[in-house]
Symmetry: D3
Subunit: 319 residues, 6 copies
């Protein structure tokens, strides 16, 4: 499996180990049952249909199991789909494990944790520093592996951490040009803004929204956590309130989930930096298989736009 | 002062004690200083301009002081305005005190507190009951006098409590028709939904938004308080989450300040009951000086509508 | 048929008489014709596909006919669907008739008609009373069986009457708390607001919009009817105009079909009461098969929300 | 009075008879009463302030009276305003009467009535013809003098009739290019669409909305009138319904007052023709005093646009 | 082939030459490949599926080829679909050519070009005339055959020219009623407004948006072309700017693609005339197969409305 | 004049040379003429009224003249206003010139021009480089002094250049983190995006929109200029089209003036960078006179928000 499934074009054949992300039974128009499989490796996902299944197949090819598949990539209404020729379950003999198949951040997670720690270490405002460190330590373990979302951007293992580290670098590079910005506030805002996603989402494997995630959401959860941390650490002063405001307002508008708009300079900047990193991640994704001179598929989370790759830009490496 | 200033029509003369709610200095177009006074008694407010003031006047006629005024109500661009003929500060001799001049709820506050207590007492779900009672006790003192808003509806002493009691009665009368409703949840939601207004607003006199009120808002404050109360009382279980959701969603939409829409039956009902009580309060207000057969002033908070009083309805008692 | 089809879960087998609500011919991807059947009993509806049909089947299994079916409930893209094992038409021998299969209001229609009559009887304003009684008598027969809509809420036999009776009770319970409300106006508004649905909709069986329903709509139809009734009864006075306004404005906003917003206190209340009863009916519906701790399907008419049933609430009786 | 007040530029002096359209008392910032006069002649309107008034002045210079004024046009915050030097009431000796001062349509009203009659006469569908003629006769007297609005466009004596006649000509010229259009329907729609403005508005002098106009509106009034006319004339058939739909839908969208959008070809065309004639009337108005190479004042009813007159266009005749 | 495919009803058989507009391979739920064919003749389009295809079929039945088909029109989810019984490619023997199968304007293109030339000839403003003539000559060849769009309205051979000629006639007929309109400007605006569609679209066969069409659009392209033409012809004066503005603003609003709203009387009129001609074309289209007394399919580009054909109107000739 | 007028608080006296930016005559409510002066120095603006003026005053105190004023800053409806005690025109003796009074960028313009030149010099794509250099040279003189807007942000001498240089630095710092970005495109987009503001605006003194600015706008102007420059330089290739697209789309949405949304990665980034620099400039402005612990005035161009300066931030230097 030298080339990941994300890079297979229509017409190419596939001979690979793949993880079944989800497997749903359906009934074909001829009345026969089939399985609709969402297959994944580190590079991406591909759908496949397994026709004419037995009840044994149904019990075998379930979410979380690894299979060996031979087939061909086909076009189905403008989407790539894998036509299965052979499929078999794997055993210990195959020496494969789920972790090898989950897409994850392009950087090492311990390195990234170290980098966040350094930003906290460099803070000058002791209250902001203590609050941020406390909450970072509290959630560090889940933070290290959590995705940042269920779809659209940074929806991979350690996606949240990767997003935060990118935003910290961006904050530093931007703040160097605007001396009025309080970098302690800005870095703390970046580290805390999405931290409660470790509670809003169910974790890196088969990521879903939790019930508290649906009823309360990560923004309100984090506002509460900051309050409780401040009480626990006996920190008083407006820093607590201001950090809560930054988390609360980072989606910028009521209709996007923030009950208050940013009313502090650093809160507005936090929102813009979040936006840049998310959009770059999404645009890189939709464009990475596009041939120069062509338009991408429509990207729903980017206002349904179809992006263009100019003819004078590089083609994707693996095409 | 038998007839309050709310009831004086254009052309009538006024001879009354009034409280100066706000007094702002301005410069007339002839270059002379004047005071723009917002005067109030229990029935309402009236604007007045005090022309040609000395610096002594400026020091005397300040917010919070009670004055004796003789004058006449005039029309100024469609608004009533008091033309001052004589004005003097009051002394101990006048035997008047600010409390007599602040508009307040039409019911006795202790009676209302008692009524809320009874609703809590009748709850069957012990977790909901303990949480609600704990938070009610915690804020009871400020809750008893706080207005529910700075303007539009229930913006008077004990306005918040009056609004809550009306909503409890409404909840009871509506829930009696829809047996699927969980009245413990609904009553608790009503009691808690606006409770953090005691922190969002600065209190009954010269009510303004506090800094935490502007940066965080009563909804997010209360979600945090519920969490902290549950921890303090060692209450676990989904009741805590559900009560937080009810508070969080009671404005119904993101653009109205709720980060989540109501996703529980009782949360949706809480929003509708809040809406009914606020609208009835506002409509009664805009219509109470309107003569049958005429339209009211436009009410900004009621989508800028001008309401009609049918000719076959009663005229206002004091007109 | 002890348990209605609304209550069958995926995987359960079905052996029941069912009414074919609609039957549409389609062509399968193998080129063979099939029938897409919408099946109904008093508890709800279920889709089924009948594969490989003959032209005789096509002529037999038509809208309005009752069939006996054996099969199993399956999941099709998240929706329940009935897989048919055997199907046969019924004859006189089966002793079944269409009325037994149409969902209808949970209360007896004559009792409900009696209740409306009592509300009219109690009115004090003779003009309002005569107008309301006249129009109620005129449409009473269709009013007694008409649904209130083609979908979303109260879309069953006598749904309109059931909705009106619920709203009358709600009006009474709410008005008891707000003494400024004119109950004659409010009750008359409730009784008349949707009355022209008997002309906008085609009746209780296979309910559709009529051509006048699509081109004019029940709101404008009823405004005209009130005018004509007043002329017929020689009633003059503003009551006629005000009742027309209440009907005209009860959808509250232009984009929801009301050319004028409510400009009278009772008109605003009518809109809010209509809203409460419709929403309670819809929420009860989407939640009634949901297991505690789970979220419902998305409800399009409730802003596409998915509602949650708390774990401490009761499970559905039949699950 | 050779040149009307609409054509006086800032800096020019005025010596003319003018009608007081409205006169409102105000209080100046020095505490003295003044009158805010809206003055009019056939060409337009001008505001003026009369300072330092006595109570006798107040009783003399009232709405509907004609005065003789000498003064000068000045600029007040970008608006023209008349600075009064002398003002006196008129008597029989002045030989002036209100009719001479009201702006009115540029065509003779009897000629226009005759033209409408001819369009009706030429209709081929007898039902449409009889209904239209009946309603036209019924309202002819008020129709002949009614304005089409209180402001924005055609807000002058016979403005409604002038608007209808222009639209009839426009209909004829457009329909000659689209043979699928039913001209009987289109002409009838034009004649009836705004007819109930004779009831929605209070007439040509000091035009205001009536109470039924505010609570019901001309669209719903006319739908009712068509129904009643059809009953009176014993006309049956879909023509009645279709004409009602055309009136109902002519504002095109719910938020503009039409409970149904146009669903018939001729209804859509009616809306577009109404739009063209109203916009041309408004644009001609805002541009008629603009010098080539300059932008007009902002026109609120034209989406607040400021229109440009190209340098190669003609200057206004009287500038 | 006496009756075009646009006029075939469900159930009718078809025996005709048809052009394959597009042919896309799909995989049926039984795993077999099929072709999804979009077939066209001068009257319209019809979809068909060709099941069980060989790789030879795939190579034969490609876009742009003409086939002979026997089959039957069926209903597929409310859409007409052709069920193919026999299909064969055509040869020289069949004496058919693609031009015979492309829908095109109902008028002769040379006649229409002549008509446009006459409008230009009659212009009085020499600058406007020279600019318009120059650009018309430059693009005349493509202009003569280009469609006006890829779908919705005037999407046929010479559709752009036909739309422009209709708009010129409309302009003349409307301008005759509003003497303030500058017809030179208006006619030039009509001729130029969509001219750059010859570059935005790929031409009359298999019409698609070009890359410059997607990245820049016809409006901005044309603004540039006018500037360049003026430089080439050494034309100075505000006419150039005003014509650019007319093209720029003809979509009326930012969200519809115009960076400036119409700020000149003739620009507003251009927008309204464009609107009338497009809507009439679309409504005629959706209604031309509708039987009197029925509603059309929903038309997405007409705000998703379903139009009604009154019972007293003519049925379609060929039904 | 050590401390600029931007920094004077209410109550402070002023003794300074100031430039009259605009002077408009008005009529006071006592009928006397006055001048409404907009006064400016390098730090900001202040309004003043000059009462009881003679016609000589009117001729003396005109836009563009420098005056010496003694007075006091007062509060007028929440805005600072200068109360004039003495005012006199200046002569050569005063040794003051307009340039000293116009607010301008905080950096030297030649230095900034040099910096832009360096960015162009470093470009690797020769087509992009030549186009950008050509257009930069063409407009360099006006570019060096033009403001970026008439209000809101960068509305000072050399504001456009200062905005572009800040954005170039921001581009460099951000692009260093996202290697997929084409910096040639991004830098060229930054340099060109607002270049046509030199034609849209009337220049640095008394900045207004020009007629072409209002009718066409800087975006469309620049798209044309790029096309013409490419023709002049005989540059072909997609770079021309892509640069036009970047300029065209940099306002991101139709309702904000861009006929196409960004469809290329660098175009999206250009929009975000423009946004960051404009917002930082605006926020710094509204906050720079705010005392820690207080909220700023509402900023219309920042969604009418009122920004907060935390108590733990620095107070303004000069307060």
């Amino acid at each position: 499996m030298r080339k990941g499934i994300h890079h297979h074009k229509v017409g190419e054949s596939v001979d690979a180990y793949l993880l079944i992300k989800t497997g749903k039974k359906g009934i074909a128009s001829n009345g026969k049952p089939f399985l609709n499989l969402q297959l994944t490796d580190k590079t991406g996902e591909l759908e496949a249909k397994l026709w004419g299944i037995s009840s044994e197949d149904e019990a075998t090819f379930v979410s979380g199991s690894i299979v060996h598949i031979q087939g061909e990539v086909q076009d189905f209404r403008g989407m790539r789909q894998l036509k299965i020729k052979t499929i078999r379950p794997t055993t210990g003999m195959d020496q494969v494990k789920p972790d090898d198949f989950l897409p994850s951040a392009p950087r090492n997670k311990d390195e990234m944790l170290e980098e966040v720690t350094q930003y906290i270490f460099d803070m000058k405002n002791a209250k902001i520093q203590r609050l941020t460190r406390h909450l970072f330590k509290k959630h560090q373990k889940e933070f290290a592996v959590s995705p940042a979302a269920t779809k659209n951007h940074h929806e991979f293992v350690s996606g949240l951490l990767y997003h935060v580290v990118s935003m910290l670098q961006l904050s530093k590079n931007i703040a160097s040009l605007y001396p009025t910005l309080d970098t302690d506030l800005l870095y703390a805002g970046v580290i805390l803004h999405d931290m409660a996603k470790v509670r809003e989402l169910s974790g890196p494997m088969g990521t879903q929204y939790t019930t508290p995630g649906k009823l309360i959401g990560h923004i309100s959860m984090m506002v509460t956590e900051i309050d409780e941390a401040a009480k626990e650490l006996a920190i008083e002063g407006e820093e607590v309130l201001v950090l809560q405001h930054m988390v609360l307002s980072h989606h910028s508008k009521g209709e996007w989930g923030s009950p208050k708009p940013p009313l502090i300079r650093e809160a507005e900047m936090l929102h813009m930096i979040d936006n840049i990193d998310a959009k770059m991640n999404m645009m890189d994704r939709v464009l990475d298989r596009v041939i120069p001179g062509e338009f991408s598929e429509r990207a729903f989370a980017l206002e349904n736009r179809s992006f263009y790759k100019p003819t004078f830009h590089e083609p994707p490496i693996d095409l």
